[in-house]
Amino acid sequence: MLTKDLLRYKIKSGKISPQFVNPTDEQLLAVADQLISVFEGGINTPRATLLESSKQIIDSTPGAPIVKRGLEKLLLDRTEFDTAPNEELIAFRQKLFTETSRLLSQKQFQNYEDYQRTVLDTIAEGSRPEIAPTRNEAGAAESRSKIAPTGDEAGAEGSRPEIAPIGEVELGAKLYADLPSNQPVLTFNTLSAERLLHRYNAAQVQGLLLHCNSLTLKLSDSMTAELRQLFKYLRFNQLLSTIRKEGELYEITVDGPLNLFYKTKRYGMNLANFFLAVLHQPKWELAAEIQFRNKRVSRLSLDESCGIKPISQQFLAYIPEDIQLFQTMLKNKTEDWQIRPGSQFLPLAGDFYCFPDYQLIHKSGVETAIELFHPWHQGHLIARLNTLAEQKDVSLILGVSKELEKKPLIAEALETSAYFSQFGFTFRDVPTMRSLLPILNSFV
């Protein structure tokens, strides 16, 4: 994600507009390509060297530096550095500092040079091989195992190792050679230049959403698997939603539990992550109020015409494992019912809607749906039971995790719910046919 200083936006008449880059701009694609090449070739390179190389590209190519630094930041997010502690260097420092501390506490030095010489001499002393770094060092990234000779290197028969005196410059470079700037690149998750530019545009929106309280989406109900994924993202990000129908569109307001009391940006990160699922929808409109610290509120309005391609993985091409398992289990028990992933909104009491996880179709044409409640859906479940208590004409089966059932409030709510006793069941990992089939058959 991009930090605030890397965001590009304009505010005019209370409206905030992210400044997207053109993902087909050849000049920018070329710069992106060069930056990606630097990162691809950067494996084992220390962080400082990698950043120096990318800075050269940022400084020497045409285009706005802020955009190029944004691209660099997104590439850094895909880079893993070796942050494991360098045990040998740590042990070396421990011994050296014990020694310097003893010297500084006990000895009066004529001047700094006298002290420096004494420290260097101490290191070079054969009697203290354990604190002596070796000479032949070619860069910080290779520093491991070269700081102190092992017992074997020190001579199998107790002979003194041949350690040349170490210079001040050399010791200085070595002493804290494991700082982040010297950490080498372990892996880089590469991508194409075009994809990087789309990712950049998405990150511009995400960067703004970090500063919002809630967002409103308008979606048509003609979509299926994409919507299912959207609602999975919503639940995964621990957000709450209110779904209403407005004309032909469903309006979904997304925020968190505390939004009722505070204009909090507490859920900004959750909303920014949720935006990735929005990009998978063929038609969408998003509205949000953005407020930077001590600034006025600005309105963000976006729709699919912004042209940002989805950047997160899409799982629509295959049937999810849970559905496959469910299908097999159902097929083993009965040929009468077919199962499909949930694909449409279901109207509930008032003007509320829910989006079930599965659709079930009987060979006679009778249809019903299942909504599953996992341990983190306590609030949703209470709301659903409240709504269904007043509902007479809905065909919805509720599956509730046994983990959730352990909570006293939920256990009691389930026990006292007439709806749940007729159309509900509990499950451990996945729903079983034993508990589901009797309910299904009550519909036909």
Binding site: I90, S101, S105, L258, Y262, R293, Q378, K407
Partner: protein
């Protein structure tokens, strides 16, 4: 038969069901939530809501509260100082809520330990840094002789007494905010931060204690602290305790002349930086000044040169050669003492550590080495520690008696906290704080402003 009112905990909030109509407007901060078709209130209102229900004689079913009365045993017999007893009494009198303001080294941790033992409720202690989390963990283990949990810095262990970082609490309080009846906020001036406040909001704990040396905030948000934790119920200032429960101390300011070549570089860089500010009409005295400068500096070559010049003049005033010479003089002067050298930034800290072959403690230091440096400093293996900011707050190094501030921010709080590192009482200890100030630079004016704080009035 009427359905009883139910209170449950949901992600840092309270869900209220079956609320009688007559009561709906009386429950503090509770609102109808049409997303879940229930009433909802922020978790920290638990105590007020329950009190209200009791006052109205309304039966309720409470599944929110997931803690009971404990039987913590405080294994050490230590008599508190009179002012500590006063602070404890004041907190009890304030309804077991409130902020206690005492200088560093005055035994705030000990007060919290006594209150945990008094309160007998599962307790969550919030601290700003990982170092403090480990330090609290060690002290609580020693005093209570039972498993103490740690939540933060990669550890996720909840116990009846647990220490967590503010950052971790913001993330996880929505899940465990109903398991603790007593919450302690160490260095609680951090709590009113935009995100940190949710650590207090998302907890139902009826008993709350905030502790700090300096509750006042530049942004004036201490009122938020008092709303979430309780009013300031006890306060003692550093001079009141100096020489009694805190060490005697002196503050020595050393005005340092730059070398000629550095002075020329400094003046040139400063000129470039200031002329850009003037030309771009940026007023650094305003709250948006710094952000405006950063933004304008990124827009042109001239701006980038000005930013570079800004860094150069800052770096020269922070770490001039003469300052390093003074550091060497003071190291020699204080042979046998335990010294902390503070810098404003990591680069300067590592520069000094590398030049004098000294241990440097920054946020980049890995946990194992961090513990080695701190323990080694306490037991005398290392007599000097160099650090940028991680030792500013709370970390207990009672053996330290000399501090050198090579560079720092303009913040009064930072300097009072740094002073606090060397104030813990030891027999015959005379603490000295040296401030190295580059003559005729911005540092000079910053220092003058800082010295108006009461902590400096004894020097």
């Amino acid at each position: 038969m009427s359905i009883p009112l139910k209170i449950s905990f949901d992600k840092g909030t309270l869900v209220l069901q079956n609320v009688p109509e007559a009561l709906q407007s009386d429950l503090p901060d509770s609102r109808w939530d049409e997303r879940t078709l229930t009433f909802r209130a922020p978790a920290y209102r638990y105590r007020h809501i329950v009190s209200q229900l009791r006052a109205h004689n309304i039966a309720y079913q409470d599944t929110a509260r997931q803690f009971t009365v404990e039987s913590f045993r405080h294994g050490k017999s230590i008599t508190p100082y009179p002012y500590q007893t006063e602070a404890i009494d004041a907190w009890h009198a304030n309804g077991k809520r409130g902020v206690i303001s005492l200088p560093t080294g005055a035994g705030k941790t000990f007060i919290a330990i006594l209150l945990i033992a008094d309160t007998q409720r599962p307790t969550l202690v919030h601290v700003p840094t990982i170092d403090l989390m480990h330090q609290w963990h060690a002290v609580l283990t020693e005093h209570f002789g039972q498993e103490i949990g740690r939540y933060g810095g990669g550890q996720h262990e909840l116990q009846d007494i647990t220490v967590t970082t503010y950052q971790s609490a913001v993330m996880h309080a929505p899940h465990y905010g109903n398991r603790f009846g007593f919450v302690v906020f160490d260095e609680c001036h951090h709590l009113p931060g935009e995100q940190y406040q949710y650590a207090a909001i998302s907890s139902i704990a009826p008993f709350r204690l905030g502790m700090t040396a300096t509750p006042e905030r530049v942004d004036g948000k201490e009122s938020r602290l008092y709303a979430l934790v309780g009013e300031c119920c006890y306060e003692a200032k550093v001079q009141e305790l100096s020489g009694k429960t805190l060490s005697e101390y002196r503050v020595m300011t050393i005005a340092v002349e730059m070398e000629d070549t550095e002075r020329v570089q400094y003046e040139e860089a400063r000129r470039t930086y200031l002329s850009f500010l003037k030309q771009a009409k940026i007023n650094m005295g305003t709250s948006r000044g710094w952000h405006t400068f950063l933004w304008r500096a990124s827009q042109s070559d001239e701006g980038r040169a000005a930013f570079k010049a800004y860094l150069t003049q800052k770096q020269l005033s922070f770490a001039s050669t003469t300052k390093q010479e003074w550091v060497w003089k003071l190291i020699q002067r204080h042979r046998g003492d335990r010294m902390i050298i503070f810098t404003q930034d990591n680069d300067t800290a590592y520069q000094i550590g590398t030049r004098f072959f000294l241990p440097v403690l920054t946020h980049q230091t890995k946990l194992k080495e961090r513990n080695d440096f701190l323990n080694g400093f306490r037991d005398g293996t290392y007599s000097i520690l160099v650090t940028s900011k991680v030792l500013n707050e709370g970390v207990d190094v009672p053996e330290a008696n000399v501090a050198i501030i090579v560079s720092g921010s303009g913040s009064v709080r930072e300097h009072v906290q740094r002073l606090g590192r060397i104030l813990r009482k030891r027999e015959g200890k005379q603490a000295v704080l040296y401030e190295l100030i580059s003559k005729q630079t911005g540092e000079h004016f910053v220092n003058r402003r800082r010295r108006q704080h009461h902590a400096y009035q004894t020097s």
